[in-house]
């Protein structure tokens, strides 16, 4: 069994990853609450933005800051465009149809990335943020600024979003739409505009998450596209409703995943962490429902 000092670096890496999962999970929950769409393309649009950013740096010699902005802008435009084009058409359809439609976007983007940024012939890519090179030491553990940003972004986005939903007019409209889109529309809320704002916010978060994950994890289409799994699990644990619970669940997913790494017997099963935690949460939720507690 690993000692406490062995585990400390894994706590740091798990918190950083959990922070980015939280950021992503919050984006998913907000979009779901406003539009009823489970956005399965969240990882793919982030990956697409990150790869365009990499191309700008690598092929066009663009400065890093411009590439980061373009990464976020690309994810935002893709998400907003999807929401504006397909959102209204699918608004009255079942959640299953809405989600499968986003899976279609995922597959299109995944195929495009595979075509445009092939990894044949040993090609490998990376985005390094300047914050990788600085940091501090806690005990024996080296912490870099990107890890701090990963966790900090999760905290800030989760807190900011919770405040936004509670205290702003737009946030209130989003919460109203989460309960009933038709009644909200009848009350005079500009539903399309509120939905557009939700798609826009989700796209921005997808871009930020794509950029951070490209640095913290890997700039690889497959990896980034499917990292949304962990964020979805966190959102699911929070029943696609609570921002605070999504944040907490994402941090737990990241922490448990990384803390299992040095445990020899469990290390190869640690990628199951999101599924196991989500399954346990579902069981607990359904048990409470059976017992009349909701």
């Amino acid at each position: 069994m690993p000692t406490w000092s062995d585990l400390q670096p894994f706590i740091v890496s798990g918190l950083a990853l959990g922070g980015v999962y939280a950021l992503s999970g919050v984006g998913l929950v907000v979009l779901y609450r406003a539009t009823g769409v489970v956005y399965l393309a969240f990882g793919a649009v982030g990956a697409f933005g990150a790869l365009i950013g990499w191309s700008l740096i690598h092929d066009a010699g663009a400065p890093g800051w411009l590439a980061w902005l373009v990464c976020i802008a690309t994810a935002t435009v893709l998400t907003l465009a999807y929401g504006m084009i397909f959102g209204p058409a699918l608004a009255k359809r079942d959640p299953l149809v809405k989600a499968v439609a986003t899976l279609g976007l995922t597959l299109i983007l995944f195929g495009a990335m595979d075509l445009l940024w092939t990894t044949g012939g040993g090609q490998s890519r990376s985005i390094a943020l300047p914050t990788d090179n600085g940091g501090f030491t806690v005990g024996q553990v080296q912490v870099n600024w990107t890890q701090v940003i990963g966790l900090g972004a999760g905290v800030v986005i989760a807190t900011g979003t919770a405040v936004f939903l509670r205290y702003t007019k737009l946030g209130t409209a989003m919460r109203a739409m989460a309960n009933d889109r038709e009644i909200t529309a009848m009350l005079g809320v500009p539903v399309r505009r509120v939905e557009a704002a939700a798609w826009l916010g989700c796209g921005v978060l997808a871009g930020i998450a794509g950029l951070l994950l490209a640095d913290l994890v890997a700039l690889d289409a497959t990896t980034l596209t499917f990292l949304v799994i962990s964020s979805l699990a966190a959102a699911l644990i929070a029943r696609l409703r609570s921002i605070a619970l999504t944040f907490a669940a994402a941090i737990v997913v990241g922490l448990v995943h990384d803390l299992l790494t040095p445990v020899q017997a469990l290390t190869n099963y640690r990628d199951m962490t999101p599924f196991v935690l989500a399954a346990v949460a579902l069981l607990v939720i359904s048990r409470h429902r059976v017992m009349g507690v909701d």
Binding site: D6, V217, A218, T261
Partner: protein
């Protein structure tokens, strides 16, 4: 009312999300790169057609003088009866070996444009597969029964040797391949130009042991065959009385920071971490180590051949100069200027438009396999049949490819590991440069010992640097 509406939507959505999680997990798993199963370098896709046949008119410029060396009649297009050859390569999202077959095609195109083989052009069929056993078996039969190929050259597939070796043996077809699966090395009718993941890992661990490390951590992707691959490094470390820790990682790696931390913790300051992953996976582990300041926390880092790419050297930067040591199965192209290397580069430039990775291990392998095949076919007198062609392949003995440490021999042996001497390279400001010249893989690996007992030790190539 509000709660009921939300609860109803939740009841519909939660099972959907759960299903999506499972679906995504399956997709993630099936698309993951398989470094344990990588012949040399890379993963990805490069858009080859499912099946193609061509007698190969030149696609590039005709001004490259040196490509005329590939044939016996420079500038004369071969017009005889085509010799049909075939190859099967994996091509799926995340894993593509099409560069190898495409480079073999480029070589054949060059030969066809310069007199062919005794006047005959080569018609080369490439089948691509997606690691589906039934499809791979069907591809083999398609090549033989529909395309009427008389020889198999340029195969590079995660499963092909495992699935098809019995079929080839039954037909008397001796394949020239880039090996991945154990059967590419342990069966009588398959001979590879590369070492494959096991012997390349042997080479990387052997180099680490030669630097007197106190412990070896050998980490590889968690794909079928890890036990077979890990047996070689384990034998070498045990013979050197050096402890070895074997790790496996699920790919794609979801948090490289934790992987790098674990490796360094297990190795200790006097130890070595040796990786066997595809370039993207190896890169993210090494970059994670760099970000966390771990590169100097072990005595050295090692890697099997997939890490031998300039892409990786450029992405890592100077911190890894003389810190990371990579096994190289083929002659380093940047620092070599032999006639074979110059011909390879010229053919690649003139005929290799479909070789997406350019200069590198994959295209070197394709060149070498085609070169050996052409050398063998030139010795055939009379008709080019399955029997004569494969007899010629098996008769190749001590051929100087210009790409390997050793002279290459096929021969009639129960197993074939004809490439069993390696180089070691290290990053040097964005390029991989040679750190150690040709060094035989130790016979402590029982498979190497068995091969040398059967075939002897091939002489070192006169062109080896």
């Amino acid at each position: 009312m509000k709660m009921n509406t939300h609860a109803a939507r939740m009841r519909r959505t939660i099972p959907l999300v759960a299903a999506a999680l499972l679906l995504a997990a399956c997709s993630s798993s099936s698309n993951s790169t398989s470094s344990g199963g990588t012949p040399s370098a890379g993963s990805g896709s490069s858009g080859a057609s499912g099946s193609s046949g061509s007698t190969g008119a030149p696609s590039g410029s005709t001004s490259a003088v040196s490509t005329s060396q590939c044939g016996t009649k420079p500038g004369v297009q071969a017009s005889g009866t085509p010799i049909a050859l075939g190859g099967i390569v994996t091509n799926q999202p995340g894993t593509s070996f099409t560069d190898i077959a495409n480079m073999a095609q480029a070589y054949f195109n060059c030969v066809n444009a310069n007199g062919g083989i005794n006047g005959h052009p080569v018609k080369y069929y490439i089948e691509t597969e997606q690691t589906n056993p039934a499809q791979i078996a069907a591809d083999a039969r398609q090549l033989v029964q529909s395309d009427h190929v008389v020889g198999i050259v340029g195969n590079t597939s995660i499963l092909e040797c495992t699935i098809d070796h019995s079929y080839w043996e039954k037909l008397g077809i001796a394949i020239i391949t880039s090996g991945i699966a154990p059967e590419c090395y342990s069966t009588p009718d398959a001979a590879a130009v590369n070492m494959g993941p096991r012997y390349s890992s042997d080479g990387a661990v052997q180099y680490a042991l030669s630097q007197h490390v106190g412990k070896v951590v050998f980490d590889q992707s968690n794909v079928p065959g890890t036990g077979y691959i890990g047996a070689g490094p384990a034998a070498l470390a045990n013979a050197a009385h050096t402890p070895i820790v074997q790790l496996t990682e699920n790919v794609p790696i979801s948090n490289a920071d934790s992987v790098a931390i674990k490796e360094v913790q297990d190795a200790g300051p006097d130890g070595a971490v040796v990786l066997n992953f595809t370039p993207p996976e190896a890169l993210i582990i090494l970059q994670a180590a760099q970000k966390l300041g771990l590169e100097d926390r072990v005595k050295l880092w090692g890697c099997s051949t997939p890490c031998n790419t300039d892409f990786l050297a450029q992405a890592l930067g100077p911190k890894w100069n003389s810190k990371l040591f990579v096994n190289a199965e083929l002659t380093p192209p940047d620092s070599t200027s032999t006639s074979a290397m110059n011909l390879y580069k010229a053919i690649l430039a003139q005929y290799g438009k479909s070789v997406s990775g350019g200069v590198g291990s994959f295209s070197q392998m394709g060149f070498t396999e085609a070169e050996i095949a052409v050398h063998a076919l030139e010795s055939v007198t009379g008709a080019y049949t399955t029997a004569t062609v494969n007899a010629a392949f098996k008769a190749v003995k001590e051929f100087n490819t210009g790409m390997l440490c050793q002279l290459w021999t096929y021969g009639s042996y129960p197993l074939h590991i004809p490439n069993n001497e390696d180089y070691t390279v290290t990053p040097d400001n964005g390029k991989m440069t040679q750190a150690q010249g040709c060094t035989p893989i130790s016979s402590v690996d029982p498979q190497i010992a068995a091969y040398r007992a059967a075939a002897g030790t091939a002489p070192t190539a006169p062109t080896a640097p």
